[in-house]
Symmetry: C2
């Protein structure tokens, strides 16, 4: 957050604005995205938004960056913990309602000049971070040499994404306990696939 003159920013307002920005983008896409409508949905005045973000593109890019931490920083301790955190982040990012914005970004961003480079940078940094996480495990001997990194990440990340977006729209959101159990089983499944490979 940048320093602003006058009273300090209200983190609750910022959270509501970011949430409303993702909701609106998920619903209406870039063609329906405006600071006016974000302000309306977030129940804040437009000046509160303009104090932090000068354009609609800045706001959307920031909202995506803050919300979609697809790849957590590896904690440096344990591969299972790293893979579990990665799966949890992908589930969170693709469950309603963030998921609608994520899916829309994946295909709208390449054709929107204001978003293209930002999205590509986010996407690339996430993929690179995920690959580093697996490569490090190979270097440490936690995974065998010759581990197919692409396949490990496709199965782990793809399953988490599929699991999140395949839920019927009218299903109750999964509980934290359900998500924990799913991730535990998924990571064990992928690690079994690697060690049998």
């Amino acid at each position: 957050m940048t320093a602003t003159a006058g009273r300090p920013r209200d983190p609750d307002v910022d959270r509501r604005v970011v949430r409303a920005a993702l909701d609106l983008f998920g619903d209406a896409g870039w063609s329906g995205f405006s600071i006016d409508e974000v302000a309306r949905r977030a129940h804040v005045g437009k000046p509160s938004i303009y104090r932090r973000w000068s354009t609609a593109a800045d706001l959307l890019v920031d909202a995506v960056r803050e919300t979609v931490h697809l790849v957590p920083p590896p904690d440096g301790e344990d591969l299972v913990a790293d893979l579990s955190a990665l799966a949890h982040h992908l589930l969170d990012a693709h469950l309603p309602d963030a998921g609608r914005a994520m899916l829309r970004l994946r295909f709208e961003a390449p054709s929107i000049p204001e978003l293209r480079d930002h999205w590509e940078a986010i996407r690339t940094s996430q993929v690179d971070a995920a690959r580093r996480l697996v490569h490090r495990a190979v270097r440490r001997g936690e995974l065998p040499r010759g581990t197919n990194v692409t396949l490990v990440l496709d199965t782990l990340c793809g399953a988490a994404m599929m699991h999140a977006i395949a839920r019927p729209d009218d299903a109750a959101p999964p509980t934290r306990r359900e998500l924990d159990r799913y991730v535990e089983e998924l990571v064990a499944f992928v690690l079994a696939g690697i060690s049998a490979g």
Copy 2:
């Protein structure tokens, strides 16, 4: 295809119309979808479209049905062949350009009355068919009892989807040989995960 008076339908025209319908929907979504624009993109006259489809919704639903056979009919012989066919279909359905239409459908369809029920029927039948395929393998003893069907399908289908949509937009389309090799490795990986479970 329904019988029509006069000259027989031209399958090449139908293919171009279906292709154009998916392209347009992928680009512009339901709000930008019209038979006028499909006709323009397919270089066919509107009467050629109206002879077969009476509304834009009919056309889009048919285009999706014909193109997105996510789950092939099991050939009844071999689990590896079934899973490979399933992975190939998911890759094909999510690679450009069909993939843009697929992703858009996943989140637009629930809020579009003309498409909602059709999409839900397609989605449900695909999921059911995929689950039957794995359950049958369990009954036949090709997979162990207690196989986690959800996890098998999430990893297999999720990886294929992720692999298709994660390709950079400017990458050359994968060759059939690359896809074959990827699917072979993926199916082996998933089966290893099951048997180690």
